[in-house]
């Protein structure tokens, strides 16, 4: 794919691109030699010390000390030329190696010896970049100056805005400084007058209505949150009919696809925009008691990957949140523990701000994500046999 000059370079080799998978989760991982413990940076496929090829990408200590800093005032790259001046520094990672990093140079070069915290962030091309921020900094900082990470002053459209997560999203985005929130719902709402929140009657399964909404609001929406969802709570075989499974696909998959198809062209044209798909950790593995729902979320996960790839060259971000069971009307019959809707909404706000692509809010989802990365088949059996696992 030819690179657009108004986006950062995508130059990495395949092995180094593995930095991206941790950055997508907002984590800092490097290859660690399993034979001698040496942390590899620049990343290598053989241990620089003992030559073992038994390397594993592991979370490493985020601390670092400034060695030397410069400010790039001239670049041979069209994208960087537009962002000058840029802070670039070499730091000694607490994990051992020396790394090149970006830093905020608005107050001049950071002094040698300064303690720093390294964040592994995605830039606008989806490449991982090591960013150095002050050691005590809380949360993610926008050293990469990515307009897609701002929420303040932006217009957000949320589907399913009357549901549990939807209501929490409206509140969280208002608190985050969104200038306008278009709260889309299938059923008419008693809308109280509000300077920020505006209601929109929209059934995401009505393709013509979605197209009209995109025509009407595409020019103003910066962030699209596909939150509308449906759960039949049935197995794939134990349901009497396929109506529930059909409706799950219509809302969860085709509804999301229709919304993205409507709004993405407006985002691409502006070379800016964020799409957030509210998925479920069950997009990765089937829970038999709601098998058709899981299938619809798995389809929407695949959709997420596909549109992300198609939109990446246009500077449009596509992210997904993967919660475990959330305490909403739709999951009234599901057993605890359940996430508070506000936790999911807050995870989405954080994800937009820190530039990551995936978020697993709460301990259950993040544990399950880790278990899936380690051994997906084991998790599949665990689900098949029913939770909790006998010890």
């Amino acid at each position: 794919m030819k690179r657009r000059p108004d986006l950062p370079p995508r130059t990495r080799g395949r092995f180094a691109r593995r930095l991206t998978s941790a950055a997508a989760r907002g984590q800092f991982e490097l290859p660690v030699c399993q034979a001698c413990g040496t942390v590899q940076y620049p990343v290598r496929e053989a241990c620089r010390s003992c030559l073992s090829d038994n390397l594993r990408w592991e979370a490493v200590a985020p601390g670092a000390t400034m060695l030397s800093a410069t400010i790039i005032r001239h670049s041979t790259d069209a994208y960087f030329q537009t962002l000058r001046p840029l802070g670039m520094a070499s730091v000694r990672l607490d994990a051992g190696p020396v790394a090149m990093v970006r830093y905020d140079c608005s107050d001049g070069p950071v002094a040698p010896g300064t303690r720093l915290q390294i964040q592994n962030q995605l830039d606008r091309s989806g490449e991982a970049i090591l960013v150095a921020v002050p050691e005590q900094a809380k949360g993610s900082s926008d050293v990469l100056r990515d307009p897609n990470r701002q929420i303040g002053g932006k217009t957000v459209l949320i589907t399913g805005a009357d549901g549990g997560i939807g209501k929490a999203l409206v509140k969280a985005l208002r608190d985050a400084g969104a200038a306008k929130i278009i709260a889309a719902t299938r059923r008419p709402q008693e809308s109280a007058a509000d300077s920020v929140v505006q209601s929109l009657l929209l059934d995401v399964t009505d393709q013509a209505a979605v197209a009209r909404a995109a025509e009407l609001h595409g020019h103003e929406v910066d962030i699209l949150i596909n939150n509308a969802g449906f759960t039949a709570v049935a197995g794939l075989l134990d349901a009497d009919t396929m109506d529930g499974a059909t409706r799950e696909m219509q809302v969860n998959y085709f509804g999301t696809l229709a919304m993205i198809r409507g709004f993405a062209p407006h985002f691409s044209a502006r070379k800016q925009g964020v799409i957030v798909n509210v998925l479920s950790v069950l997009a990765h593995v089937s829970l038999p008691s709601m098998g058709s729902y899981c299938a619809s979320k798995a389809a929407t996960l695949s959709l997420t990957q596909g549109v992300r790839a198609e939109l990446l060259p246009w500077g449009v971000r596509v992210c997904a949140v993967f919660p475990s069971t959330v305490d909403t009307a739709a999951s009234a019959d599901s057993p605890p523990p359940k996430l508070a809707p506000a936790q999911v909404a807050s995870a989405i706000v954080t994800m937009i701000r820190d530039g990551s692509e995936e978020s697993y809010p709460g301990a259950i989802a993040s544990d399950l994500a880790g278990a899936l990365r380690a051994d997906a088949k084991a998790v599949e059996r665990e689900m098949a046999l029913g939770l909790p696992e006998p010890r």
């Binding site: 370079p9 130059t11 080799g13 180094a16 410069t70 400010i71 670049s75 041979t76 000694r92 970006r102």
Partner: protein, 389 residues
């Protein structure tokens, strides 16, 4: 100390340089052809007398020394490609000298030529580490890397901008007299200090201008050089070091600092015997590290040295007497042969610029191959004036 075999019996001769335009529509093969043509004419030999080719270039790929042999209809029995940029000059000479001693070839042409890169993204693919871990951090190229090295050196050794400026001003004074200079006008300290920042703390005149050019010289036996009536230089000693001081978090030595004693012992000489220093000058901080490595002062003491010494060709520490790349431009990998050719011109009475009076011996130091955060290759040689036996 175990010393390598001497380079006795080997002659280095016929320094040639092509025109040096800032841009060109010609291919790099043209510059190689011009270089080879000058070598043959000035040496009074025919093309078929050259039976060895050592080639350095960044822009020749996918071609190589063998491709050039076919291109120029030659049949060498010894070829060598040296993709080591600024370090290639001395490395080509020492390898060619050993091949001459071993009888693997009788006349080896050491050729280097490159085109100036242009356009966006030119340094994006310089090496795997650069591509993966340097370029995505701002595309600052070598300027950014050496800015970090310079900032670290200043903090460690108390160097100030004027110290680097002294090197640049002296070299431009030397270069103003050179036949091939890109700048007839000398540089003042005020010009240097008031120039815009490129990558803090580097200013415009710390960074070499790029050009397109070819450089070449011949390596053969002394007997052959004498029978051809060619003035020549001898190799008193030579050292090189790759990835030296690799544990330094920020580069503060050039690798040959590890090998200095071997260099002078092999030549039975000392720094005081050197009539000039030709040091690779991609950035002044690297010149300082080479002066330290070569024993003209202690580690970290070059700022004091350049305040005390006069660095022009008529000074008490003649440095880059042709002006170096700061005056003659950096023709990519051929920049690594500028110091070699300037040393050969001074020692064979063929100076085409400022002349060091009665030069009998000098040192050439090369440096290059920036891979991640530093240059990996460092090499140096002592050359002495050759005399008929």
């Amino acid at each position: 100390m175990q010393l390598p075999r001497s380079y006795e019996g080997v002659a280095v001769a016929v320094p040639v340089s092509t025109v040096r335009p800032r841009t060109t529509r010609r291919s790099v093969h043209w510059f190689f052809g011009q270089t080879l043509d000058q070598l043959i004419r000035q040496a009074g030999i025919s093309k078929s007398d050259i039976d060895g080719l050592a080639v350095a270039s960044y822009t020749l790929g996918p071609d190589n020394a063998a491709s050039l042999a076919e291109y120029f209809d030659m049949e060498p029995r010894f070829i060598l490609d040296l993709p080591y940029g600024g370090a290639a000059g001395v490395m080509a000479m020492t390898r060619a000298a050993r091949a001459i001693q071993a009888g693997d070839a009788s006349i080896i042409a050491c050729l280097a030529a490159d085109l100036a890169p242009s356009g966006y993204g030119i340094y994006s693919n310089f090496s795997a580490f650069t591509r993966d871990h340097i370029y995505p951090y701002g595309g600052g190229g070598a300027n950014a890397t050496f800015a970090l090295i310079t900032a670290n050196y200043m903090a460690a050794n108390g160097a100030v901008a004027e110290d680097f400026g002294r090197i640049c001003v002296a070299q431009r004074a030397n270069g103003a007299q050179h036949a091939l200079t890109m700048f007839k006008k000398p540089l003042s300290m005020e010009d240097y200090l008031s120039a815009r920042l490129i990558a803090d703390p580097l200013r415009l005149f710390d960074c070499v201008p790029r050009c397109c050019a070819g450089e070449g010289f011949l390596v053969m036996s002394e007997d052959r050089a004498q029978s051809l009536g060619l003035p020549f230089a001898r190799i008193g000693g030579a050292i090189e070091r790759v990835n030296g001081y690799s544990q330094e978090p920020v580069m503060s030595h050039v690798g040959i600092a590890m090998d200095r004693d071997r260099l002078y012992n092999q030549a039975s000489m000392s720094p005081q015997d050197m009539d000039f220093v030709q040091a690779y000058d991609d950035y002044p901080v690297i010149v300082m590290m080479q002066l330290e490595a070569l024993g003209f002062c202690g580690h970290g003491e070059a700022p004091k040295l350049v305040r005390e010494k006069r660095l022009t060709a008529d000074g008490d520490l003649p440095l880059n007497t042709g002006g170096g790349m700061l005056a003659l431009g950096q023709p990519g990998a051929a920049g690594g042969s500028l110091g070699m050719n300037e040393a050969l011109r001074q020692l064979t009475g063929k100076s085409i610029g400022a002349t060091v009076a009665d030069a009998e011996a000098g040192v050439v130091s090369c440096f290059g191959t920036v891979n991640y955060d530093r240059g990996l290759c460092s090499s140096a040689a002592i050359l002495t004036k050759g005399r008929a036996a």
